[in-house]
Subunit: 327 residues, 2 copies
């Protein structure tokens, strides 16, 4: 290998290794939030710092719904499920065997909400089981290609939060492994996580359905079955991180009390840790909600978070852009 080749390799490394000369967080206003994030990252990545952390331990975990992309007026995965019921009912109306499914076919989210968790699980189960993982993911991909959000008119994967996408990228440039740890379904999120966030499938943790392994027409097939095998919410989040990642994260970010345990566990670790809560304060550009919301309810985190040193991100004041699709 000659000198020119060596230099070429070196240049590639410099380009991809993320020595950032430009502003790494351009959609964050110059506020305390931005400053605290950068100061934290500096202190754990500077080899001269006494709080230096080796790259293999730089784990950052983030909730998805309401933290990395929108979640109003209802979780986008439920909108997918409702749209699927509509499609299925067009092909075969006899599938509408319950009030929940009829409400879904009518796109009546209020009636669905009235039916409670049972109604929602029925809609999810009907649309998320009885097909192979590959078939399910093709269906989600097709939906993402065409479906538009009822109020923004954006494609759902354009409703990722630009400042959070920048934060993920900045952390990776600084040697972090970035993970999603979400109540959403793993098979659903993996369809867009790589493209939308740069997060590969093996770094997507979430709720997962029961699945089976069997030969179908001689082909080994993993089929999504009815029922939830693991609910990745509340205490389930640290439990799932322990099971799958096996390390306590350095950074945990969320937006609701479903993320409380994950942030609590993360920030109780030795040395500096960063707990972060995205507070939905921007009625004008998004939706303002916290303690009284039916989705993404945030009470405990707002009440105790600041005392525990967690960073409360104020979307209205800290972010210059909301959605990636707004740019």
């Amino acid at each position: 290998m000659n000198l020119v080749t060596n230099l070429a390799v070196a240049t590639v490394v410099i380009a991809s290794g993320g020595i950032a000369y430009a502003d790494p967080l351009p959609s964050w206003h110059d506020t305390d939030a931005r400053e605290r994030i950068i100061a934290f990252v500096d202190v754990v990545t500077d080899p001269a710092s006494e709080d230096y952390v080796t790259p293999s331990d730089r784990i950052a975990v983030f909730d998805n719904d309401g933290t990395l992309w929108g979640e109003q007026p209802v979780y986008f995965q439920l909108i997918y499920a409702v749209d699927e019921v509509k499609e299925m009912a067009k092909a075969d109306p006899s599938i509408l065997t319950s009030e929940a499914l009829r409400a879904a076919a009518d796109g009546d989210f209020a009636a669905l909400a009235e039916g409670g968790e049972k109604a929602i699980l029925e809609v999810i189960s009907t649309t998320h089981s009885g097909l192979s993982v590959e078939e399910f993911q093709v269906s989600v991909a097709e939906w993402l290609d065409t479906a538009k959000h009822p109020t923004t008119g954006l494609g759902y994967d354009q409703m990722t939060y630009q400042p959070m996408v920048e934060l993920l990228s900045y952390l990776r440039d600084k040697g972090f492994k970035t993970y999603i740890v979400s109540g959403g379904g793993v098979h659903f999120m993996r369809v867009f996580a790589e493209r939308a966030y740069g997060i590969p499938s093996e770094q997507v943790l979430g709720t997962y359905s029961e699945t089976s392994y069997k030969l179908i027409d001689g082909q080994p097939t993993i089929t999504k079955e009815p029922g939830i095998a693991f609910l990745d919410d509340k205490e389930g989040k640290p439990i799932n991180i322990d099971r799958i990642i096996g390390k306590r994260p350095l950074i945990a970010g969320g937006n609701s009390d479903g993320d409380y345990a994950m942030i609590e566990w993360t920030t109780a670790g030795d040395g500096p840790r960063l707990g972060l809560i995205v507070h939905h304060t921007d009625e004008e550009r998004e939706v303002a909600y916290d303690c009284d919301s039916h989705i993404g309810r945030l009470c405990d985190g707002l009440e105790n978070g600041p005392d525990m040193g967690w960073l409360i991100v104020d979307m209205a004041n800290d972010w210059s852009v909301i959605y990636t699709g707004d740019r």
Copy 2:
């Protein structure tokens, strides 16, 4: 950044990036097995090959017991459990409330085996629950530091198979992500996987116990609880890979029929795939066993594997060294 620094970076990259001038598999004899492995890796990593696979899809999964390290006369994790019961009984003999625990305290593996799965699960449960994950892992680490295998006299983590350790390293040099997918416990294996195999905790999949998350003396704690939450064996292996990795591997290696489904699913994928079975044929240097063994029983894989194109590695003929500790 000046030229000298650039060159230093380039040199580090070359050293760690694994441009291998030396034999990457020195403990493999020059047989068909070695040749097939290298030919497979070449075809999926050569950008000019029509079967080229991008690095992000280069996933290689391996069983642990009997594939990456020994498993005779009984699984090493069970030996740890029995040694723990002995220790616990020394401190408090009143814990020996059952025949299974008394057999364990006597080191009587034959009596334990007679008690069947129930007896073994009781011994595992007694020693693997009621303590935090951190406490459990300290206990395993201390055991690994001092315990010796009854027949080889080696430390257990010296009983990794040197040719497989080389294979893992070779695959990583070629851009693969290497994973363990084992019936063994994740918390147990993570204590040595990084050091013994270069596999970080987040790439260790296995059986996991129930765990709880709660505050203990104000500290958020993940505690190992009685009971198995997921058994990572047989059909559980592809199911777990789908849940956690979310991609079908390119390479799957095992040694028993517990690995059959994982290898079957892997090799049924599109394009070239490598299924590999370690066949324990070396009575002189290790233990020769397959279809009649009580541990690591291998019948279906031997019968159907060759027709399915799986590589059957003959330890006696294909490996020049067995244990890492033998070198």
